[in-house]
């Protein structure tokens, strides 16, 4: 059974795992983790250059841009205007039209402000951006983002960095059923089984940062996530057995000795 390719806005990716670049103990560790993850898309943040610090090495020195596609985000933006401005700057810095759009509604949960997110999506799509919005697991918001021209919908599984795993499997399933664009579970994954579950629910991809960067051994966890996403995708397509309350023997019940 060969899988359908993972295509977003006409671009094909070899891996359904998208990883971040934040919170690593060092850029060297990050580079190894990226390698182990098998990802070919990484998210980055757009921030002011540190004027005072000349020596500061560039993040990009540690990303193999020949293999990795760079996805700038608008993390930390609390209004549509801020997010739009940041997206435009990201485009100049990266010379690509793609943006992971975040409009945060609250700093403790980092949950999205869907109203502002939809508005920002409309504006940026008109400007030719390929918009991948980070949203919550609200099927109605996802549909509106799709109608606004989003290239994918990226509902959270749980709060960013919480590692709680997917809190509402039913909503993810419903969003998958309703969406005609790729569904990427963004945020909330804590360990491999969470990522596998996301894919089993029908996600086309999973985006994570803290689960890998924050692990005691980020490289091993990146490898774990690579396998988990492959496993979950395969299982989703293999047609799992139905759940039953009772047992069903896996060995024959006839031919027992001495009966």
């Amino acid at each position: 059974m060969t899988d359908t390719p993972f295509v977003i806005a006409g671009r094909t990716f070899t891996s359904r795992l998208i990883v971040g670049t934040g919170k690593y103990s060092s850029n060297a560790v990050m580079a190894q983790a990226h390698q182990a993850s098998g990802a070919d898309m990484v998210t980055v943040a757009v921030r002011r250059v540190n004027i005072s610090d000349r020596t500061r090495e560039s993040l990009l020195d540690y990303i193999d841009t020949s293999r990795m596609f760079i996805l700038p985000n608008t993390a930390g933006c609390y209004t549509a205007d801020e997010a739009i401005r940041t997206a435009r700057l990201g485009r100049e810095a990266g010379l690509s039209e793609w943006v992971k759009l975040e409009v945060i509604g609250d700093e403790r949960t980092l949950f999205p402000d869907n109203e502002a997110l939809i508005e920002a999506t409309r504006v940026l799509v008109k400007e030719g951006f390929i918009v991948l919005p980070y949203t919550n697991d609200d099927p109605i918001a996802c549909r509106k983002l799709e109608d606004a021209g989003a290239a994918a919908v990226m509902p959270l599984g749980a709060p960013i960095g919480s590692g709680l795993g997917i809190q509402n499997v039913n909503n993810i399933r419903i969003i998958r059923e309703f969406s005609r664009v790729p569904l990427i579970v963004d945020a909330g994954v804590g360990t491999a089984s969470d990522a596998a579950l996301a894919m089993e629910l029908g996600a086309d991809g999973v985006l994570m940062n803290t689960a890998i960067a924050g692990a005691e051994d980020p490289v091993a966890m990146a490898d774990a996530m690579r396998h988990a996403v492959i496993a979950g995708r395969l299982a989703a397509r293999a047609g799992r057995i139905p759940k039953k309350m009772y047992a069903s023997a896996s060995s024959p019940v006839e031919g027992m000795v001495g009966r």
């Binding site: 971040g20 670049t21 934040g22 919170k23 690593y24 990050m30 998210t43 980055v44 943040a45 757009v46 921030r47 002011r48 250059v49 004027i51 000349r54 560039s58 993040l59 990009l60 760079i70 700038p72 985000n73 993390a75 401005r85 435009r88 700057l89 990201g90 485009r91 100049e92 810095a93 990266g94 960013i160 960095g161 945020a187 985006l207 994570m208 940062n209 803290t210 960067a213």
Partner: protein, 66 residues
């Protein structure tokens, strides 16, 4: 003269192009985006756009994020 650079007051002797400013700051122009008085400056125009007294300049690049 004085400009506001990434939110901080900075003294400059005289007006200068974005290219010159970046050179002065030892910043590789290929890896940053520049906003001049709220307008984004395309990279190919760095040489011609001049930063003058009272101007606001934002210079951004990519950092680790999720």
């Amino acid at each position: 003269m004085q400009i506001t650079l990434n939110g901080e007051r900075v003294e400059l002797e005289e007006p200068m192009s974005v290219t010159a400013l970046l050179a002065r700051l030892e910043i590789d122009p290929r890896r940053v985006a520049v906003e001049h008085n709220l307008n984004i400056i395309k990279r190919h125009r760095f040489a011609e756009v001049v930063v003058g007294d009272g101007d606001t300049v934002e210079i951004v690049n990519f950092v680790g994020g999720g």
